[in-house]
Symmetry: C2
Subunit: 146 residues, 2 copies
Amino acid sequence: MPRSLVRDSIESDPLSSLPGYALRRAANAMMGDLAARLVVTDLRVSDATVLLLIADREDMTSSEIGKVLDIQRANMVPLLNRLETSGLIRRRPIDRKSQAILLTDTGSARLADVRRIIAAFENDLMARIPAPHRPHFVPALQALTD
Amino acid sequence: MPRSLVRDSIESDPLSSLPGYALRRAANAMMGDLAARLVVTDLRVSDATVLLLIADREDMTSSEIGKVLDIQRANMVPLLNRLETSGLIRRRPIDRKSQAILLTDTGSARLADVRRIIAAFENDLMARIPAPHRPHFVPALQALTD
DNA sequence: TATTGTTATACTCTATAACTATA
DNA sequence: TATAGTTATAGAGTATAACAATA
């Protein structure tokens, strides 16, 4: 790499070599991309994530979904209400306190679209990473999340 | 890796092997960590980033800072007002339209604290990544940001 | 004409505290 | 006592449109 290119990249963004900063920038860029791709499904990234999580399950409560996805109980309420209003999920009582969150048929159909979009997104994402770095990417990220 | 561990990790978070999801989770966790470390400086992550960027420069305008950091012009206004009110930056007219954003002495002193905290943060972050993955981390992220 | 700085506004995401009802 | 679901609310971050003044 020519010295001038190093200088240019340093001058255009002197923080880009900081791991935390690079991580934030990459995540923002990729989530912006994903959100744009999901517009056609009328779903937000968190919505799509919930649908993916409850697929093929009939036993997850709102609290459990929140624990897995790092979304607080209180913030699950508007999210699930939105999905229920859209007819994508329904609630089935487990006891008089808890409810299972289930996909409706409409939800399953929408999930099929989501799966296609996510697959293309994940594929494009990995394709942007130079091959030698690729196998290290997800393991490194997982190590940061615990 | 024993099959039971694979099953456990899949059951506890079946999405963790998706690169985009892993990226989002890692970035959220790390930025939460950094924000907590910066509490003692009374700065937000974006505030600290701006201070780092304008250090040793006397020529950056609000618009230019925003372009580098991916913060829109309109959103720079409250950010810089906050830093100015705290006495960390000041504005020097370049012409009758543009102003350079400069660190004050107070800002330089605060930046020294920020640098120490960021250095420890970046160090701890990289330390959490297993050594074989470590050199691939920042290059992979940079490839995603363009 | 394009750009700088700004105002106003709205939406999303996230965080906390508190309440009710039930396990 | 602890947990599930909820309400209300506030703080951040982000996005758009529009405006005046100046390059």
